[in-house]
């Protein structure tokens, strides 16, 4: 079953045709990586998936709901099936780790009145998924390393049990060891919680480590799509050139 279905997606900003008929399917419970260089349209594609942008043409269906057709409250409710990890982690720097991770829980479930103990238990549980202990709860984002910030961001994305987690350039700016750690974290989230993941990245090594399926986006179109092995064997000239920048080093 497909968790995310993008069908014939077109988007332009003035004369800049960013997406030109992109179609892809993210299977339930798998990790799907969209690879591409700067300006290839990756981020615009992801913003359509979460409903921050409306397509000029085409549709986006997530968990059976057509996100691209929703507005207002319906869109807000549909977004509750998502968690998102931003490039810079985007932790709220006016809150400590506990309040950051508890934030979606408190906000999305205001009507359900979870007790303090329940909130704390959920926060601790999700931090454990990303291998962080209770000792980080009172720490402030500014006191955390880049890798720890990413892990806290993932715990925050997971805390309200989303069906889909989106990762925007999760390894950008990280050293190789921390990059490995983030890759493991993405895999752990999938294996332990059965979550569907969509990763936007230009990090080829990381993409091939975490992807069940992947696509290469070039100039607003999919230049290749399939399993990592299929994409690696693609005959598309751009894909060969793009992947060779990393595979030739191996």
């Amino acid at each position: 079953m497909a968790a995310i279905e993008v069908t014939d997606l077109w988007k332009s900003f003035g004369d800049n045709h960013v997406l030109q008929g992109v179609s892809l399917t993210v299977p339930d419970g798998q990790t799907y990586v969209v690879l591409g260089g700067s300006g290839s349209g990756k981020t615009v594609l992801m913003k359509h998936v979460i409903g921050l942008l409306k397509p000029d043409r085409g549709r986006v269906v997530v968990g059976g709901k057509e996100i691209s057709a929703l507005e207002g409250k319906a869109l807000t409710e549909a977004r509750q099936q998502f968690g998102m990890v931003f490039q810079g982690a985007a932790l709220f720097d006016s809150m400590n780790v506990f309040d950051n991770v508890a934030f979606p829980l408190r906000e999305r479930r205001r009507g359900q009145k979870l007790s303090r103990e329940e909130v704390r238990a959920r926060v601790v549980e999700k931090l454990a998924v990303v291998d962080l202990g209770e000792e980080v709860l009172p720490r402030w984002p500014a006191e955390l390393s880049g890798g720890m910030r990413k892990r806290v961001a993932l715990a925050r994305a997971l805390v309200s049990d989303p069906q889909v987690v989106l990762y925007d350039e999760p390894t950008t700016g990280l050293d190789p060891i921390t990059t490995n750690y983030v890759d493991e974290m993405i895999q752990h989230a999938k294996e332990r919680l059965g979550i569907t993941s969509m990763v936007i990245s230009h990090d080829i090594a990381s993409a091939f480590r975490v992807a069940d399926r992947m696509a290469v986006l070039y100039d607003g179109r999919l230049a290749a799509e399939g399993t990592p092995a299929e994409v690696r064997d693609s005959k598309d000239p751009f894909v060969q050139r793009f992947l060779s920048t990393w595979f030739q080093k191996q």
């Binding site: 977004r79 998502f82 490039q87 985007a90 709220f92 979606p104 906000e107």
Partner: protein, 250 residues
């Protein structure tokens, strides 16, 4: 021409932002804890600077009025004329300018930093309206605290004028107080307080908008903060004239 057009577009977007803010203020949930926190920051946090400014403004104005009134042997009117000027003009305008410098700049910087580090986007993807969570509490707190700080300015400003007039210039206390009661009534106090309400709304909307719409990293945040303070200061003076014409006539 292009600058003028950009300015008009920016003003239009700010008006739309203000409309959205009003709409979100009317929707549940009412975030009382956030409003109280902002009241503490904008109100209690600004009390010292407003108090010091008020005291010295009253002292200086008292001395100057004493110098002027002496020409007509009318020193007994120093208290009344100072209180009249304070309650209708000096207190609301000085208070608004001081709070813009202290709290307004901090609001623009905080929201601007949240914007460029994707914290506001993160909030939106968590199905929480950043306008309701970040903007509405600051606007409500400003509308409530600007009049309170104006009253503080009034009280300390008059106390400063009293000390200068009665103890330094040697004006008899009886006429000083009696003429103040003759000249200044509740209407004069409310005239200034209504202005403070207007200034609170204007300053909070301009500073939150400048932060909310910031872009381009640290430089963009800095520019947004500068524009927030400059625009707010000019808007206070223009609105003061408009409100005076509206309340008093030409």
């Amino acid at each position: 021409m292009r600058t003028l057009r950009a300015g008009i577009e920016d003003f239009g977007r700010m008006l739309f932002f203000a409309t959205e803010t009003v709409a979100w203020a009317l929707r549940p949930p009412a975030r009382l804890e956030l409003i109280l926190a902002q009241m503490a920051f904008i109100g209690a946090g600004s009390a010292f600077i407003v108090g010091v400014t008020g005291t010295f403004a009253g002292m200086v104005f008292g001395l100057q009025m004493n110098f002027a009134m002496k020409q007509f042997a009318a020193e007994g009117y120093v208290g009344g004329s100072t209180a009249f000027a304070l309650s209708r003009e000096l207190s609301p305008v000085f208070t608004a300018l001081m709070v813009t410098g202290r709290a307004g700049s901090a609001i623009a910087t905080e929201l601007g930093t949240m914007r460029v580090t994707e914290q506001i986007d993160a909030m939106e993807t968590m199905a929480v309206s950043p306008i309701q969570y970040l903007v509405v509490p600051r606007v409500i707190a400003s509308i409530l605290m600007f009049p309170a700080l104006t009253m503080l300015f009034n009280a300390l400003g008059f106390a400063g004028a009293y000390v200068m007039g009665v103890y330094v210039a040697g004006i008899p206390e009886g006429p000083f107080i009696a003429h103040t009661r003759e000249i200044v009534g509740p209407d004069d106090i409310f005239h200034g307080l209504w202005k403070a309400v207007i200034f609170g709304a204007i300053v909070s909307l301009i500073t939150t908008w400048r932060g909310y719409s910031a872009s381009g990293g640290a430089r963009g945040v800095g520019e947004g903060t500068t524009r927030a303070v400059v625009s707010s200061s000019i808007a206070i003076l223009v609105a003061d004239y408009a409100a005076t014409v509206l309340f008093v006539g030409t």
